[in-house]
Point group: C2
């Protein structure tokens, strides 16, 4: 199981510094939507990001104008870009093709879509399907149960990622469960006094 | 009926220059999502945008982390910010409250949501409800008919905006129809050899 660390709501310089520190420890570095919307893809493209081991996921949250956004996002250095499952199917098809053409990856954010929408977009066989609840939602989120339910409904989806309040205990349970390809941890690593040490602990319990 | 001109997929300097030129002609200047994602809100905040007449709408397309994005967007100078109707209801409630507290406005992008979702979010009485189809969708869009249908289903929604292939003829029909508060024109103005003159023509047929 892979560990993706989400870097969000910090200064771009700080994001770049901690990303370079985490590069050798984690599998995927996520530059969160706040970094895109605060600083822009062009600034990310020209930042001193120097990743040798981890993949870079930029959480673009594309919902329209997919081809333009995905071209800009991959040009900024992303290996993986996110598109909202709530987008039109045409948008998702178009960005999937761009990812395929560039040998890069598409992550579909499944937040807030219903069963019918899920079924419509469950056929992108190389895509990563990301399950999480809205950060703004008030109620809790049971990652292990949500993943089990999703897997039961969509057994054909091979690549699943989950986010939302993942601590060491939940990460270990998810690893034992054996369904998801990756877990996304934000504050559990980024708000630790030592993010590298915190990430190492996650890697230990997961593997 | 108000005219909103959407500025998208250009260099930020060019966007700022044409916005300042259009300020006295149009009602609302939209900085499109591409400007946010390419350059970032901080660059927009520090740009030489000098609007005296028109309102600034930044097409943030918020879908999560609403309070953070709306604070950043209003701090960048926006009078109106967009949130996706596909967001969680909690997200929309939270950003609506931020708009109300700052005496600024929320625009709900109704793209790609079903009737049930529309009903859930039809109660924000000061919000602007934006109707359009996805840019990436292949099939056509009949603005006049779509507006009539929307108004019939949601007669209680007072503030409606429409976008999507609006030319002079459609703008005139929408003005005569008398339902929408504003129309959004992108390439019909921005791709004209003289955007100011093109905007003036739209204002003439609409009023």
């Amino acid at each position: 199981m892979k560990l993706q660390v989400a870097i969000d709501r910090v200064k771009l310089d700080d994001a770049v510094r901690v990303a370079n520190q985490l590069d050798s420890v984690v599998d995927i570095i996520e530059f969160g939507t706040s970094l895109v919307k605060d600083y822009g893809l062009l600034a990310i493209k020209h930042a001193d990001l120097n990743l040798h081991h981890a993949q870079l996921l930029i959480d673009l949250k594309t919902i329209d104008e997919g081809p333009y956004e995905f071209k800009q996002g991959f040009a900024a250095g992303a290996d993986i870009l996110t598109v909202m499952g709530a987008s039109s199917v045409d948008t998702i098809k178009k960005v999937y093709e761009i990812g395929e053409a560039q040998d890069k990856e598409m992550f579909i954010d499944m937040m807030g879509i219903n069963q019918e929408q899920r079924e419509q977009i469950s056929t992108f066989n190389k895509a990563i399907y990301g399950i999480h609840h809205a950060v703004d939602e008030e109620h809790g989120f049971d990652a292990v149960k949500t993943v089990a339910d999703f897997h039961q409904k969509f057994p054909e989806i091979a690549r699943i990622s989950v986010a939302g309040g993942i601590n060491l205990e939940v990460a270990q349970e998810l690893a034992q469960q054996g369904i998801v390809e990756s877990v996304i941890v934000g504050s559990g690593i980024m708000k630790a006094s030592n993010p590298v040490a915190a990430a190492q602990k996650f890697m230990e319990v997961m593997n």
